[in-house]
């Protein structure tokens, strides 16, 4: 199968949306596009599975076309298990996001156009095996967010949009410096070629921080996480879902695929800084969430905490912990998208996100409230949902690292789960249970599109929670390849 289809389909969706008239046509086209993407991804999963079990190479479905010959830049795409997991996540979130924004009246054409552009950037990023292509798609995914938040957002949206765009752009500027460093050393942007070379330690040590921090900004690396709360809470529902569900994963994926895979020695020497920052992010994020009164801020700050697990897993550099990091990316993507979807559904009915003003919603909107509770339980790591599987794997993997300080960090990170339980249960208890606010008596429950959106995401969460081996089998061989390189380099 030609992977370029994953870029072409969103692109054609975006173009088709421009020629539509009225909200109905626009959303039908977008939904069709999202459905085709999901179908493609399902097909890809099956095909990948077949080829992989019959002993395929590390990257499958590769295609490599010369793009800019004088500079040795190729359009090189291919997927392994990790990218496939990310693509699946993207397809699910895109479908759910499209369904959730079903009744976007304001400038609907532009809205769905930008959503399609954003998903194109995400797909392109995950399938790229050329650093230039990857960087191109990384930036493609930045600017639509600025417009999405600034035009359709709520609250102090202009400020948040500008902050997000500038911080993410600063992140990509750092990534650019890192890539340039690799390029001048290897004289190539090709990930596979560079992985086969050995970059001198001094070069690695100089450019690893650029690449890692650059990608880290995308995934809320402490202290560069400040765009997350503002950006997430000002964004319209679908954009929040995309931001937290997909966009933050661009960073985690980049940290793993570019920084750690291509510069493994430096990853070892800087591991303690990564772990330190990740632990701070986990704990700080959890405690900061306790202080929030706005549902979106709660989810945004808890994202900082949860994405800390991704970085912790990468920093620990054991096979299990890196597996856990990838699992956590997928799990957090699905869970946080579901959470934002539920918050969006509540907000569109009650027009408030303040916990204090909500209450007893379970009585009038049972479906939405259940979705909200499921997302919450997944977030606090209840067994049976994906969050448990992912966090457990990260902890186990981190514990395998024998360094005493790292184990101390693991214990601290584990302890944060208690705090998570506190804020999740409190938010759920106050807004879903309790006495019903009289003005909310007339609320309607979820419409079919909202039910479908939630259903798509919950299916993903439950499958991952009940049958984690499915996804572990998918990603483990690929993380093994990365970790084998990292571990042999050290010896």
């Amino acid at each position: 199968m030609n992977l370029t289809l994953l870029i072409i389909v969103p692109f054609l969706t975006a173009i088709a949306v421009l020629f539509c008239k009225g909200l109905k046509q626009v959303r039908t086209v977008s939904l069709a596009g999202a459905a085709v993407q999901l179908a493609l991804v399902v097909f890809l999963l099956i095909a990948y599975w077949q080829q992989h079990t019959s002993g395929g190479s590390q990257f499958l479905f590769e295609s490599n076309v010369m793009w800019f010959k004088p500079l040795n830049i190729n359009y090189h795409v291919g997927i392994d298990g990790i990218s496939l997991a990310m693509i699946t996540l993207t397809a699910l979130v895109v479908l759910a996001g499209t369904l959730v924004s079903w009744s976007t009246e304001k400038l609907s054409k532009e809205f769905f156009f930008l959503l399609a552009l954003l998903s194109m950037g995400a797909y392109g990023f995950f399938i790229s095996l050329d650093l230039f292509t990857m960087f191109f798609f990384l930036e493609v995914a930045v600017v639509p967010k600025f417009l999405l938040i600034g035009i359709w957002g709520s609250g102090k949206k202009e400020y948040s949009a500008m902050k997000l765009a500038l911080m993410l752009m600063a992140g990509s500027a750092l990534v650019f410096v890192g890539l340039a460093g690799i390029y001048f050393q290897a004289n190539s942007f090709d990930v596979i070629q560079i992985a086969g070379m050995h970059i001198p330690l001094s070069v690695q040590k100089t450019f690893f921080p650029f690449a890692f921090i650059g990608f880290g900004i995308f995934t809320a690396l402490f202290p560069f996480h400040t765009w997350v709360p503002d950006g997430h809470s000002s964004a319209p529902t679908a954009a929040s879902m995309f931001l937290a569900g997909i966009s933050m994963k661009l960073g985690g994926y980049g940290c793993l695929r570019v920084a750690t895979y291509l510069m493994p020695d430096a990853a070892h020497s800087y591991a303690w800084i990564i772990i330190l920052l990740a632990t701070i992010a986990i704990i700080y994020g959890a405690f900061a969430t306790m202080m929030q009164t706005d549902l979106k801020y709660i989810n945004a700050y808890s994202s900082v905490s949860h994405c800390g697990f991704v970085l912790l897993g990468i920093g620990m550099l054991t096979k299990t912990s890196v597996n856990g990091a990838v699992l956590q990316m997928v799990s957090h993507g699905l869970m946080t998208a579901l959470f934002f979807a539920a918050i969006g559904m509540i907000y569109s009915r009650t027009h408030t996100r303040q916990i204090a003003q909500l209450g007893g919603l379970l009585k009038v909107t049972p479906f939405i409230s259940t979705v909200f509770t499921i997302a919450g339980l997944c977030s606090l790591g209840l067994p049976g949902f994906s969050g448990f599987v992912a966090e457990m794997t990260v902890f186990m993997g981190s514990w395998q690292n024998p360094d005493a300080w790292y184990r101390f960090a693991t214990i601290l990170a584990c302890a944060s789960i208690v705090v998570t339980a506190v804020y999740i249960l409190r938010a759920t208890g106050r807004s879903i249970m309790g006495p019903l606010n009289a003005s909310y008596n007339q609320l309607t429950d979820a419409s079919w599109n909202e039910k479908l959106a939630a259903g798509v995401l919950i299916t993903g969460i439950v499958i991952m929670g009940v049958a984690p081996f499915l996804i572990t089998k998918l990603i483990a061989p690929s993380t093994d390849v990365i970790m084998n390189k990292v571990l042999t380099m050290v010896k």
């Binding site: 800019f68 500008m162 500027a173 001048f184």
Partner: protein
């Protein structure tokens, strides 16, 4: 023999022919502005097409004039820009009393630039440069009723006279030490002699004036603000592009023995230019001044690319100028149209612009994104390649500072985008009907700004022109 001369100088001949046609049309019976403009647009289009065929390499008049497929391509970029500007100034020229004069001035300037790019001798180069500057000073004064316009023209003529003096002084010193002005002979005679270095500095200063490199940029904003938008866009795109082409060829051929010296000079100049341009652009309220400072910053990026001489650098510079033609002219085109219809030219006037003019808003947004270097627009590719080409292996300081500046520049470009899309305004600008000619220009510009980057054969084509030279 004489046919050779016709074919090699075909682009110059075409421009001269256009000037004569204009003169004859002016001498004849009274014609409407439309007939002038339509004739010119058709002729400019033919001129552009002519530039792509019968391109040969050759030298004329004892190396005074040389041409190659690369030079013909460079001239054609300018032809294209001239055509776009002509299409865009439709609304502004429609009611103007001096349409033929405007075109004659622009074309004479273009002719000068052609000679400058094609020059194989510093004397010819100087003549071309002067020939391109003096009509521009007259054109900058084209809004005869506005004082700012004459003020801008005055500043332009003074500063260019000063820079020409610098250049001429440098050239004469170079002649004094080497005894020749021919490009092909000079490199063998240049040998770090202090007088030659001094001459070199003067010549660089002369160039720096023309392309408004900091600290020689002070005239730019005032002239851009005062001149009519059509002239401003000509100054910022065509004139800059031409001088940059000439600069690259002079630097890489004549001064190649001094590569170490000018690498450090350009390194410092480019960083100064980028930073100053960016910091000043943040604070501008007038759209034309804003674009003036943004174009100063863009030139800084181009200098980064120039600073290390290689085929990749030359390719990236020409490629970037091509992208710059599309993106900057799209931005100027919108400003030109809005100014012509409403007379307003402040950024704050554009608040809520999207409500009334969605089409123009997208054109402006794509143009600004391309200038900011945001993919998938071409500007991203242009800047990426410039930085990769200019830094070479090892110069990460340059890359880092430039990368930081890309973020700063994004801020001020997004500020305009924010005004267009997000800021509420009870009285936005009225809905503007775009006439056919500017519409065509916008389509060309947007198509260029979106496709030239992703479609790699353009870059490969320029590279092949340079390698096969």
């Amino acid at each position: 023999m004489w046919t050779d001369f016709l074919i090699l100088m075909k682009q110059e001949m075409a421009v001269i022919a256009m000037i004569f046609i204009l003169l004859f049309m002016k001498l004849g019976r009274d014609r409407s502005n439309e007939s002038f403009m339509n004739t010119m647009n058709v002729l400019l289009l033919l001129n552009l097409i002519l530039g792509f065929v019968f391109n040969h390499e050759g030298i004329l008049f004892n190396e005074m004039f040389r041409t190659s497929r690369l030079i013909a391509f460079e001239k054609n970029i300018l032809n294209l820009a001239m055509l776009i500007i002509s299409l865009q100034s439709y609304s502004w020229l429609k009611t103007n009393k001096h349409v033929p004069e405007f075109y004659i001035l622009m074309l004479s300037s273009l002719l000068g630039m052609f000679f400058m790019i094609s020059s194989g001798n510093l004397l010819m180069f100087y003549l071309g440069l002067e020939m391109s500057t003096i009509p521009l000073a007259a054109a900058a004064n084209f809004d005869l009723t506005k004082r700012r316009s004459s003020e801008g023209a005055m500043k332009l003529i003074f500063s260019s006279a000063f820079s020409s003096a610098c250049l001429l002084f440098g050239i004469s010193m170079l002649y004094g030490t080497t005894g020749t002005l021919v490009f092909s002979e000079l490199p063998h005679l240049i040998n770090n002699n202090p007088l030659q270095l001094f001459a070199f500095i003067l010549i660089i200063a002369g160039f720096a004036f023309k392309i408004s490199v900091v600290p020689f940029h002070l005239w730019t904003a005032d002239v851009y603000e005062g001149a009519p938008v059509a002239v401003t866009s000509f100054l910022s795109v065509v004139s800059k592009g031409a001088v940059l082409f000439a600069f690259v060829s002079v630097l890489y051929t004549v001064f190649s023995p001094l590569a170490k010296v000018w690498y450090n000079m350009l390194f410092i100049l480019s960083l100064l230019t980028i930073i100053t341009g960016n910091l000043f652009a943040i604070r501008q309220e007038n759209f034309k001044r804003f674009l003036a400072f943004s174009s100063i910053a863009q030139v800084g990026f181009i200098l980064v690319g120039i600073s290390r001489s290689s085929d990749i650098s030359t390719t990236s510079v020409i490629y970037f100028v091509l992208i710059y033609v599309f993106s900057n002219l799209a931005a100027f085109g919108v400003v030109s149209l809005v100014t012509a219809v409403t007379g307003k030219e402040n950024i704050s006037d554009y608040k809520g612009f999207y409500k009334t003019n969605p089409g123009l808003s997208w054109v402006l947004t794509i143009a600004l994104f391309s200038l900011a270097g945001v993919p998938p627009t071409a500007g991203f590719f242009g800047k990426f390649f410039l930085l990769i080409a200019g830094a070479g292996k090892g110069n990460y300081v340059l890359i880092s500072i430039a990368a930081v500046n890309i973020v700063i520049s994004l801020y001020y470009y997004l500020r305009v985008v924010k005004a267009i899309f997000m800021d509420a305004n009870p009285t936005p600008l009225p809905s503007i009907r775009t006439p056919l000619m500017p519409k065509l220009a916008f389509i060309v510009c947007v198509a260029g700004a979106v496709t030239i980057g992703v479609v790699s054969p353009v870059y490969d084509y320029i590279y092949s022109l340079i390698v096969l030279r």
